[in-house]
């Protein structure tokens, strides 16, 4: 193909714009024919979507299919005598594996509790932000911070806050007399899980807050006025107007959050590496441990795929709901 420098292309196009004005006629050049060809809906549409589809195929669909294939083999890193097709042996084995059982419970606990609190607190944040009129943008900006800061960095900050020796949280709680001795945040299974959940919730609230705020602002003001005329108080306005109208946004945001929370890796990796006693291992961190550190690619892929059915169900439920709304 003959190639023409970018600058000359745009010049040509500019010229064409002038030329194409209805007063003048012209004989089509190659560029003009090309652009006329692109002008067709059936060409332009797919052409515009193609890069995105290509990226999805390459970076999502292909690895996903490879993961499915790997999970059905006994593939071990750097071993050519492995990679044999073994049906569902990896999955069967995982069901019996004590670390995996623990991890499955952890993941559900982690994701469901975190998403619930993110939703509740995020909604609260949206409702409050909706009322804030002074320095509106400043507050919105600052509340987005947890979401914007790279997770691995903020998790390192939390690592210090949960440090058994120097925890600022312990320091405050002791000072206020709320606890008698230091809480060992990351050293005891129950508090370790609580800690990683707290960080995930802290990080996820702004996503809910801002998305729901957008939803709130899309609710027509007249509905509230009508409700007020009918004598509704704040509580029933929320339940009868805000909540139902916010539902579609909430459904989508919750779906995204479930998907992301189930697949979380960084927070646990930085804070506990799955410890103590595997009490904070999630599917993603166990996958890393199994596939990369122990080299069992097949088994690791199987661990990671356990997230998949959960996510499919979540997606189906949500999409059904949205369709019903339409």
């Amino acid at each position: 193909m003959r190639t023409i420098p970018l600058q000359s292309w745009s010049n040509q196009l500019e010229k064409r714009m002038e030329v194409m004005s209805p007063r003048e006629s012209f004989s089509p050049t190659i560029q003009q024919r090309l652009s006329a060809w692109f002008n067709q809906e059936k060409i332009l549409g797919p052409a515009l979507v193609a890069p995105a589809v290509l990226i999805l195929l390459l970076l999502i669909a292909y690895p996903f299919c490879v993961a499915i294939w790997l999970s059905l083999t006994d593939k071990v890193i750097a071993r050519s005598d492995t990679g044999n097709f073994i049906w569902f042996a990896n999955f069967a084995k995982l069901f019996k594996d004590s670390i995996f059982q623990r991890t499955a419970i952890n993941t559900f606990n982690f994701a469901l509790v975190s998403v619930f609190f993110k939703l509740v607190l995020g909604l609260l944040m949206a409702l409050v932000l909706d009322e804030v009129k002074l320095f509106k943008n400043f507050f919105r900006g600052i509340l987005l911070l947890p979401w914007i800061v790279p997770t691995s960095l903020s998790a390192l900050g939390w690592l210090w806050m949960f440090d058994s020796q120097f925890s600022v949280i312990n320091h405050l709680l002791l000072d206020w007399g709320l606890i008698q001795e230091k809480i060992i945040w990351l050293g005891v299974p129950a508090t370790a899980m609580l800690s990683v959940q707290i960080v995930n919730i802290w990080r996820g609230i702004p996503f809910f807050g801002i998305s729901l705020l957008a939803g709130l602002q899309a609710i027509p003001q007249e509905l509230y006025e009508a409700a007020e005329i009918d004598g509704a108080n704040a509580w029933s306005k929320f339940w009868k107007v805000t909540f139902p109208l916010l539902m579609p946004v909430t459904a989508v945001v919750t779906l995204f959050s479930i998907v992301q929370t189930f697949a979380d890796f960084q927070i646990v990796y930085v804070l506990t590496r799955g410890g103590p006693l595997n009490s904070t291992h999630l599917f993603a961190t166990l996958t890393h441990q199994t596939a990369i550190l122990a080299g069992r690619l097949g088994e690791g892929a199987a661990v990671s795929l356990f997230i998949f059915p959960v996510l499919v169900i979540a997606v189906i439920l949500q999409l059904r709901y949205l369709q019903k709304q339409d």
Partner: protein, 464 residues
Amino acid sequence: MSNQINRNISRRGFIKLALVASVSATGAANALSGCAPKPTPAPAVVATVEGAKKALSVDGKLTMKLRAAFMPQGNEILKALVQDWGAKNNLPVEVDIVSMNDLQTIAATAAETGAGPDIIEINQGSAHLFAEKLADVSDVCDDLGARYGGWYTAAQEACKVDGKWLSVPRFFAPHAISYRTDLFEKIGVTKPPQTWEELYEVGKALQEAGLAPIAFPLGHAVGDGNDFCYSVLWSHGASDVAADGKTVTIDSPETRAALEYIKKLASVMPPDVLSYDDASNNRAFLAGSISATNNASTIWGASRNQGTKVKIGEEEKNLHELTDHFVYPAGPAGQVTYAEFMSSAVFSYSKNIEAAKALLTYLNEREQITPWANPNLGFVFPPLKGLKDDILMPWNTTPKLAPFKEYAETSHLPGYPSNNFRGGTDAYAKWVIVDMFASVGGGSATIDEAITTAAALLADSYKA
């Protein structure tokens, strides 16, 4: 001008412009790369290397990824040594210093995909995991071994697979117990404990005196946690696998004795040892809140370099002056320790295997090892037996580092006492031993439960 364009170009027009522009730009780039002469590969340089006397050439450049050592100046010296070698031999070399965690992921990816650096530093028994994808470096290791008094057992365990050297041993990060001499003196301990039992007694006395406790990591601390737990296990005469490399032997009276000991020791340690990562015990020691822990020499090194102070009554004293080290205590089976170990592997996909081998030979010679080990203050210990007595090695220049000198002699890799270091590495990656100790130490499992859980996981690790 831009307003003009905005007015003249519709939205669709603009998208089209962008699309056409991007298409043409890619086309131009492709065309360029098609016609323009490809960057010529660096001319094959022929040089002689002292000792090897081989003509060396490099395809592109020789790339290596190394683990960041504790002291920044140690890393700088290492980089300079590599560049020096490259300059001397007129070969282009690219060296990257990366963190331990990244190395592991890079190595696994490179081994599996066959693309990555020529040389990579790998930890523990990783050579057994990647065996098929590593170049045979037996000639390098045999040569170095013959010149410098042979290799330590742990180095052979880590790097020798089926009689062949698949990685060149690089360094131990030797461990000892860092302790506060002043606090030990307060309870009348002037001679460091020789056995685990004596260590417990010290811990108990410290606790009774209300002084800073002893603290040994039971969390997922890659270096310190494994080092402590495997050492306690082995020195009690217990092991996770039999010499045949298959039979799991964790359910034994010796393991029970080791776990009983941990239970006892946990009662005189702060409960947060369960959350310790590799940095926690350093921080706690530097803050003066614990009096002894197992570690590389980095606590003392950091306190000396940073001038860390600690309050003794009204006085502020230099922590490093109150800090000393003693060797790991012995158990009923004597002194057996865990090796924290790094080696340098050459991938077999590399087109520069000969050059890589020459570089690794060079880096492990006395003239290069000593200037690198010296500023690392004991964090790196050469795995060649003949080098530890070099007069400039830190443990020979600094009496406080002397306990690190003997660590390599008694140390082993997970998989010991068998030859199945692949299985051992698998169990190590899953934290089986550390978690067994932690569950008993933290009281979340009985000794029987902990052993049953570990046995099931170990059976899987040693099966393959």
